[in-house]
């Protein structure tokens, strides 16, 4: 019983700030401290959320945004991790591409988005291609550093024990590089969502970014906040999912700070 109480107490201690902030929000609106057009009350946000979820508008735009983000992210992961491995293994590939990734990393790639719309058209392809590019950088750089940081001793030991090349890659190198790969994926996942919503706001007729932009110009701020809540929830759930996957894959890595 005491254990249960303690657990409940710990949960309250860890999560109280969200309800507290919502409470302050509602109090500020009800007391007329802030203009209710700018900060609609929680009831109106909830009403907008329920109405547009019920009539299928929000689910539709959410599905569009998430599909685009998932495609860009998945393509970047599928291309980036093998490429990082190739860069770590071959001096030629490393010398050819390392400057592009390390020098290009801090360059704000968002400036290239107008060009993307010309090359790939204004709809989904340009957004997916752009999310791919934005995700590729952190995935390649982090995975590459992960591959390079593998202690050579591990490979030597495996070779010494007579493991064939294929087994060394599959059982030593890839698992040892997994933490680096997952760190890159975790950096890239919110980037994918951010970039897709951002480009949808710049110009599209579908997706949550469009929904926010159009609601904002109509001064329907309850809908803007409803969409922000949906994006936040999606990002949170996806990040937790990735962490779970990491824990399942890296089952030998327990309770370290990096795993949290």
């Amino acid at each position: 019983m005491g254990g249960l109480l303690r657990q409940v107490g710990r949960h309250i201690e860890r999560w109280y700030s969200i309800p507290l902030l919502l409470l302050i929000w509602q109090a500020a609106v009800s007391s007329g401290l802030v203009e209710s057009r700018l900060l609609p009350g929680l009831g109106r946000v909830a009403a907008a959320l329920i109405r547009d979820t019920g009539n299928g508008v929000l689910p539709y735009h959410t599905a569009v945004t998430l599909t685009r983000a998932a495609l860009g992210f998945a393509l970047a992961a599928l291309a980036g991790v093998p490429f990082a491995a190739a860069m770590a293994r071959s001096a030629l590939i490393r010398n050819l591409f390392e400057p592009i990734f390390f020098f290009g990393y801090p360059v704000p790639k968002i400036a290239l988005f107008p060009v993307f719309t010309y090359v790939f058209g204004i709809g989904s392809p340009s957004k997916i291609a752009f999310a791919f590019l934005e995700c590729l950088y952190p995935i390649v750089v982090t995975a590459y550093l992960g591959f390079r940081a593998i202690p050579v001793r591990l490979v030597w030991s495996a070779e010494n024990m007579g493991a064939p090349h294929r087994i060394i890659i599959g059982r030593v190198i890839v698992p040892a590089a997994m933490p680096g790969i997952f760190s890159g994926l975790r950096i890239a996942l919110p980037i994918a969502i951010i970039v897709i919503v951002l480009t949808e706001m710049i110009g599209d007729s579908r997706g949550l970014g469009y929904y926010i932009a159009i609601s904002g110009t109509r001064f329907e701020f309850a809908n803007v906040y409803a969409a922000i809540l949906v994006i936040g929830a999606c990002g949170f759930v996806l990040d937790r999912g990735l962490l779970r996957l990491r824990r399942a894959v890296l089952h030998w890595e327990h309770d370290t700070e990096g795993a949290r």
């Binding site: 700030s17 390390f102 400036a111 060009v115 919503v197 803007v224």
Partner: protein
């Protein structure tokens, strides 16, 4: 024959630019990809009549003030969250929820709050810098080697002394890593906010070039923006190198510079 690594570094960029130029001259590139020499000449054109200088000054002002405010706040609150469990428990759920929300989604709200001028962009940039910087600082403080802190306590150092002389220096590399991510976010927000509703700055320069069908001007803006982002990062890394003299020797971080 073996090509030295330093030469290999340059092969891909030079081949791409040369091919672009060659195909552009031959008229094989689409109209929206003007040859690099054309872009450079319109850059000079823009610089000569002072338009480029004004746009750069406007954008730099927005991004610099926003970045300093957001990074300052993120570092302070992050250090507090790393040290005091109460602060940590208050901010953790909020940050976990808001981190993946594109801060540009708050643009309509910020425009109404702060108006169409500089303030709304600066506030949005600061808001967006806050999150990565907060996360990095919070983790940095928690990851400081406990032995260092115990040692300081053991030698009778006051709490404040331990904080400023042991924890902050030990966390400094991570703090800079956070500031670096914050800077990247600042430039993304700057671009998006300027493109979606701003007067003056590089964003409008790009969209005006696009609207007028002057793709060389559009690219001149894009190049300027990219160079600014790169320079900002270089400056931050230079400051980091000065502050962390001796701390990064022999670490992998040296490679990432």
């Amino acid at each position: 024959m073996k090509i030295p690594a330093a030469v290999q570094h340059w092969i891909v960029p030079i081949v791409v630019v040369a091919a672009w130029e060659g195909f552009g001259r031959a008229g094989l590139m689409p109209r929206y990809l003007p040859a690099p020499t054309l872009i450079v000449s319109s850059l000079f054109e823009l610089a000569a009549d002072g338009e480029l200088g004004r746009a750069v000054a406007t954008s730099l002002y927005r991004v610099a003030v926003g970045f300093v405010l957001g990074t300052g706040a993120g570092t302070l609150v992050g250090l507090g969250a790393g040290t005091v469990p109460g602060i940590r428990h208050f901010f953790d759920p909020l940050v976990a929820f808001l981190y993946a929300v594109p801060k540009i989604a708050f643009l309509p709200v910020f425009l109404l709050l702060f108006g169409l001028g500089h303030e709304s962009k600066i506030a949005l940039i600061a808001f967006s810098c806050f999150f990565p910087v907060f996360i990095a600082s919070r983790h940095a403080v928690l990851a400081v080697d406990k032995h260092l802190i115990w040692t300081a306590h053991n030698m009778g150092a006051a709490r404040a002394t331990t904080f400023f002389r042991v924890m902050v220096p030990a966390a400094a590399p991570q703090l800079f890593a956070g500031a670096r991510i914050g800077l990247a976010h600042a430039f993304i927000l700057l671009f998006a906010a300027e493109l979606m509703g701003a007067r003056g700055g590089i964003g409008p320069l790009i969209s005006e070039g696009e609207d007028a069908g002057r793709f060389d001007l559009m690219f001149a803006g894009i190049v300027t923006f990219a160079v600014l982002g790169l320079l900002g990062d270089r400056i931050l890394m230079a400051v980091r190198g000065l502050v962390l003299r001796g701390q990064t020797i022999g670490t992998l971080e040296q490679a990432v510079r």
